[in-house]
């Protein structure tokens, strides 16, 4: 275990520098293209809009460290937002409880299928994603009818500025981010997550109940997804089927750019935070450019690929 930790440690210092360099370059380019970007409120907003992706990336980091992935995370986010939207008239507390239970339920199904039944996480969560799309498509005209806006308190918590550029979502992210970092680096579960991702068989032979670790990972991932969904709903003021659709690829990309191995066992949340910030500035930059949507998509995809590739090359050498 200690060899893994030192290995991760040396990688992080070098790669961290390159991530910072990429972020600063993107930051400067965006500022040159759009002079409104270099104002304190604008930087505050950019950070604020990064929070949902940061939360999704937290869930994805935990999953990917165990060697898994959660592609149903966007629909879990959408589901949580739908539930809070439809249940909030009968009390915010109950609404949040229902959303929490929903996330735990989906996370449990994903976790048990992967951990106990040995299903491929890619197939399992993609299937879950399709099932949830179906359920919500039916639901939007029946049991979810009328769920289109978020309660005011969530809108405030997702957008309200304390003092520019510090906002409530950013404070929330700082707290949750610290908790995730603590979980992964200092807690027993964190060590088990790395161990399972590094070599599940070895972990099992060492007496680790691998399926329990995987179950915990998918439930945590699901909960982060739900929280992100509420924040996206709060920030945009509206809930819809495609709420978090556009964040599935970025949630995986942020983790990969941040240096977490898709095979598991290597990486951490610090890198994912950097990945999140890079992708958020990149999406701001692309939103500022006056080019067609198709061109923007191509630029975005190419840059993500280039980043992931360069990054893996860079870290290979060290």
């Amino acid at each position: 275990m200690s060899t893994i930790k030192t290995f991760v440690g040396t990688r992080l210092t070098k790669s961290m520098l390159s991530l910072w360099a990429i972020l600063i370059v993107l930051f400067v380019i965006t500022g040159l293209v759009d002079h409104y970007f270099f104002t304190v409120p604008s930087i505050g907003v950019t950070f604020q809009l990064a929070v949902p992706l940061g939360l999704l990336a937290a869930g994805q980091t935990i999953c990917m460290l165990t060697g898994g992935i959660d592609l149903s995370i966007a629909m879990i986010a959408t589901g949580a937002a739908f539930i809070v939207s439809i249940k909030s008239p009968s009390g915010l507390g109950m609404a949040l409880l229902y959303a929490f239970l929903f996330c735990v339920l989906i996370g449990t199904i994903n976790g048990l299928a992967v951990g106990l039944l040995g299903m491929n996480p890619l197939i399992m969560t993609l299937g879950m994603n399709a099932v949830l799309i179906g359920v919500f498509t039916v639901g939007i005209t029946t049991f979810l009818k009328g769920s289109s806006t978020m309660p005011d308190i969530i809108i405030k918590l997702s957008t309200a500025t304390i003092i520019d550029p510090l906002s409530w979502p950013l404070v929330l992210w700082l707290l949750i981010g610290s908790a995730v970092l603590f979980l992964l680096t200092k807690s027993g579960l964190g060590r088990l997550i790395y161990a399972v991702g590094d070599n599940a068989t070895a972990a099992r032979l060492a007496g680790v109940r691998v399926w329990k670790v995987q179950l915990a990972a998918y439930i945590l991932c699901s909960l982060f997804g739900g929280l992100a969904g509420l924040m996206i709903g709060g920030q945009s003021g509206a809930v819809s089927m495609s709420l978090a659709d556009s964040l599935v690829l970025p949630s995986v990309a942020a983790v990969v750019i941040g240096g977490t191995s898709i095979m598991g066992g290597i990486g951490g949340y610090t890198g994912s935070i950097m990945g999140t910030l890079i992708l958020t500035v990149l999406s701001y930059l692309l939103a500022t450019l006056n080019s067609s949507e198709a061109v923007k998509q191509m630029i975005y995809g190419s840059i993500v690929l280039a980043l992931a590739w360069t990054y893996s090359k860079l870290t290979e050498k060290s």
């Binding site: 498509t137 009328g146 309200a160 920030q235 945009s236 003021g237 509206a238 939103a287 006056n290």
Partner: protein, 357 residues
């Protein structure tokens, strides 16, 4: 229960439909002499509030017309192949008219041609189709773009930067609205579209874009293709409540904000895009089945509304009990006859009449 329903519709049949059946033999199924028209609906986007309301308008108007025995709705998220299959399914079910909101302007043409050949009246609603011998009932989208742009230009004193938030790149309605919008904006040299984005007609994406793009002093006005209230919401935080004019549609929440925020200096410009155009399509379908002459294109002409000029009308368009994205126009003069309550009930002629008041 079904008997009494048939008995009541039989009265209508006696006065109007039976005589029609003589003249239009072959259109109405002869085996079921007492029954009246069967209407099929094909909708390629389920789970969308606007489309659901469109379908309800068809059902409500069909029930009130007294001339329709059954409305068959095939509504699902599907591609052109799926929608063509739905159209063919409606043909085999023996409907007299098909009201179609088509996902593609030409991909369903072969199936539609089969329907036309079978003597079925085909009415395209909302989205136009290129198939011959069909009738279009829709909002005039070019006029929609122009009306909003003209009102926005005026609200901006004919100068400043516009955030231009379109729908889906390549969609028929988006292209038409752009034509209307551009034709107005180019008249005013001091108006500049400094930012053009596509919301994909998605509420969440529209809100995210508005949050990302709005900054104090950056824009003096916003034109949206109907994704309106999240933009106003973003202004409350991004512009610290210093509102700039926004063009939106007759979405319930936007209508409400236009009224309630007027005192705080917000100028909301409402250009209706009524979902109940479905009711108008039903009326046109019945006219066609009745043998009346119908125009190939039946367009609604949207007019821009502002709270300064149309206070009473805008107040009447807000329904506190309805959803945020409920399309607030509940009557189309000359086309629809239902009351708001009848529209909300969403009852087709064949449904259990118990709830009828």
């Amino acid at each position: 229960m079904k008997l009494s329903n048939k008995r009541s519709t039989a009265i209508f049949a006696a006065v109007s439909v039976v005589s029609l059946m003589v003249t239009m033999a072959g259109v109405v199924t002869p085996a079921n002499a007492a029954a009246t028209y069967k209407i099929g609906v094909s909708n390629n986007w389920a789970g969308n509030a606007w489309r659901e309301e469109m379908v309800c308008a068809i059902k409500a108007e069909a029930t009130l017309s007294g001339k329709v025995a059954k409305v068959t709705v095939l509504s699902r998220n599907t591609d052109s192949a799926g929608q063509s299959a739905d159209v063919r399914s409606l043909i085999t079910q023996g409907v007299n008219a098909i009201i179609i909101n088509s996902g593609d302007s030409s991909a369903n043409n072969p199936a539609i041609a089969e329907a036309v050949a079978a003597g079925i009246k085909v009415i395209a609603v909302d989205n136009s189709i290129t198939a011959p011998n069909t009738t279009l009932v829709s909002n005039d989208q070019v006029a929609y773009g122009a009306a909003g742009a003209e009102a926005l230009a005026k609200a901006m004193n004919y100068k400043g930067n516009i955030l231009y938030m379109r729908g889906i790149s390549g969609a028929g309605a988006d292209t038409d609205r752009n034509t209307g919008f551009r034709s107005v904006i180019k008249k005013y040299p001091n108006l500049h579209v400094t930012k053009e984005v596509f919301t994909g007609w998605d509420w969440t994406k529209g809100g995210q874009l508005a949050n990302q793009l709005l900054a104090p002093g950056k824009f003096q006005g916003v034109w949206t293709s109907g994704i309106d209230y999240p933009v106003v919401q973003a202004m409350q935080t991004r512009l610290k409540g210093k509102y700039i004019p926004v063009v939106g549609a007759d979405n319930n929440k936007f209508v409400g904000m236009t009224a309630s925020l007027a005192s705080k200096g917000f100028v909301g410009i409402i250009v209706p895009n009524p979902a109940i155009v479905g009711g108008a399509a039903l009326k046109v379908a019945i006219d066609a089945l009745d043998g009346k002459s119908v125009a190939a294109k039946n367009l609604l002409h949207p007019v821009a509304l502002t709270y300064a000029k149309n206070k009473a009308l805008i107040d009447s368009l807000y329904f506190a009990a309805q959803d945020a994205n409920f399309s607030s126009t509940v009557a189309l003069k000359g086309y629809t006859t239902f009351t708001p309550a009848q529209l909300f009930r969403c009852r087709a002629p064949q449904d259990d009449p118990e709830t009828t008041s």
